[in-house]
Amino acid sequence: MNSDRFRPRDLGPIVLVVAFVFASVAPLLWLALAAFKPTADIIAIPPVWIPDFTYLENFRDVLTEFWPFIVNSLIATVGATILALALAVPAAFALVNHSFRGRDALADWILSTRMMPPIAAAVPLFVIFRGAGLLDSLPGLIIAYAGFNLPFAVWMTMSFIRRVPKELIEAARLEGCTWWQVLKDVVLPLSKSGLAAVATFVFIFAWNEFMLALFLTTREAKTFPVVISSFVGTGRVYWEYIAAASVIQCLPPVLFTFFMQKHIVSGVTMGAVKD
């Protein structure tokens, strides 16, 4: 049972798994391959299966023309991640370590805001942002993204902070540490890897976001997904650019999927299920 060798009865599951993994990856791969094809190869029938991987014109064109929007995406995403964590970590710490009346109700309320569909906040957000001059600005996007990811960040952080042994916190308190010192010197060092996972998830959610950016930005602060969506319009569709841009857009989430495998289950359940 514990041997890591192949057994004859594994054959069925292996065939099944390989078939489904192929179905998962093939569509992604097919668009990624198009990024290395000149226009003629993209519309060729029969299809060009294996492109010339040294053909990088599409990437060069996309990067030179749309670089500012990739930078916008990066700034909005990193900014939102930092802001969300700066707010979420102390809040999660207080919710775990400070008992006060209505604590559970408060935690539940924070969680329930995660379930709110962004479209329900769309017009009010648009109106405030228009009034405050935050439309089409990166600070505006950072605030919106941090806000929508805050409930998730608080809950997942709480699940990591709960794992810090209570005795350590009590000991530090007995030594006369203030709560701020407990947070800074005991809890943070002990939940570093968990917090890294929280940050990664917030980063990916913000990086993948599309609808808010679509109506909150128009020109200056447009994010990369909004730019990609504008490649499909009336007339000729530039599949080679769509493909190259999509590869660039998907690079961070795909890399993170491999590095974050350990934390993915707790990430998708907001920390409800331990990894």
Partner: protein
């Protein structure tokens, strides 16, 4: 760990001269900013949306709002396009989540039975890729694969004498294509949850079932389903919430078409608000989406607490 503990244990000169060092004050300061932020982003928009939904108002001229009472809601419920969006969203939720659970269970079982093989872990990461990919890009991928002229899907089907399938071109086909995309993207999510549930079953329970001569369907109904019930329910709730905000993929593939065949709730509200600038009608739609979400969320929060306490 020990290092941090020692650092923390070091006696500190705790200067308690100002109220900043007051415990209550610190804890309050930790939590209040988050609450204010969330209230501004959720409670205030909710109140404002309800207010707007009771008025005839254009996004381009917010000051000229005329009170119409429940007028927007009445219009909404009489609008075939909105009803279509409700129907499609419900249909999509039911069909895609059902397919996802069934397929995910089979794959999760396969992965669990192969967990002694190291290289299979790598396959699992590959399998999970679709759920991490930017949803907008998912729309692009399938616009390309299902393209009527240069799409690989119809080319391959043609190779075995099938098709051409209209994909996003026909009314029923478009809805099925959207369903397929959803299942493709979110089955890995369900699979992860089900696998976590299956791995939590102690192996001696399987052993005992085998000794007792239990058939596979006994194991399924009496051991496996009870063990994964909670986590699958959580998955269903999160997926329903996702379906209510489903937008990116339809926005790039069909824009709700052909006709109204793939219109969904969030796209409807988005178009009313930001394409036709009908902030009143759009807000009424948004409020209805929100109410549905709140009902589901109430269950979700209780469930999450229960799973957490187990």
């Amino acid at each position: 760990m020990t290092k941090a503990a020692m650092r923390a244990g070091r006696p500190r000169q705790a200067p308690r001269r100002a109220f900043i060092h007051n415990d209550r004050f610190q804890m309050t300061a930790f939590i209040v900013p988050t609450c204010i932020f969330l209230a501004l982003l959720t409670i205030w928009p909710f109140v404002y949306s309800v207010y707007l939904s009771l008025h005839a108002v254009k996004l381009t001229a917010m000051k000229r709002a005329v009170f119409v009472g429940a007028g927007n809601y009445v219009n909404l419920l009489g609008d075939p396009l909105f009803l279509r969006a409700m129907l499609n969203t419900g249909l999509l939720a039911v069909t895609s989540i059902t397919c996802e659970i069934v397929i995910a269970f089979v794959i999760a079982k396969a992965f669990v039975s192969l967990s002694h093989l190291k290289w299979v872990n790598g396959l699992r990461s590959l399998f999970m890729l679709p759920m991490m990919v930017t949803p907008l890009v998912v729309g692009m991928i399938f616009s390309y694969v299902f393209n009527p002229i240069l799409g690989i899907a119809n080319y391959l089907l043609g190779g075995v004498g099938l098709g051409p399938v209209p994909w996003f071109g026909g009314t029923t086909a478009a809805m099925i294509s959207i369903l397929l995309i959803n299942v493709w993207q979110w089955t890995p999510f369900m699979m992860l949850l089900i696998m976590a549930g299956l791995l939590s079953i102690r192996s001696d329970l399987y052993e005992a079932a085998r000794v007792d001569g239990a058939k596979w369907h006994h194991v399924l109904t009496m051991l496996e389903i009870p063990s994964i019930k909670g986590i699958v329910l959580l998955g269903i709730i999160l997926r329903i919430i996702d379906t209510l905000r489903f937008f990116d993929v339809v926005y790039v593939t069909t824009r709700g078409g052909p006709g109204d065949s793939t219109m969904v709730l969030t796209l409807y509200a988005y178009q009313q608000n930001f394409q036709f600038f009908q902030a009143g009608v759009g807000s009424a739609a948004a409020v209805m989406i929100l109410v549905i979400s709140i009902v589901i969320t109430t269950f979700a929060v209780r469930l999450l607490r229960r799973i957490e306490n187990e």
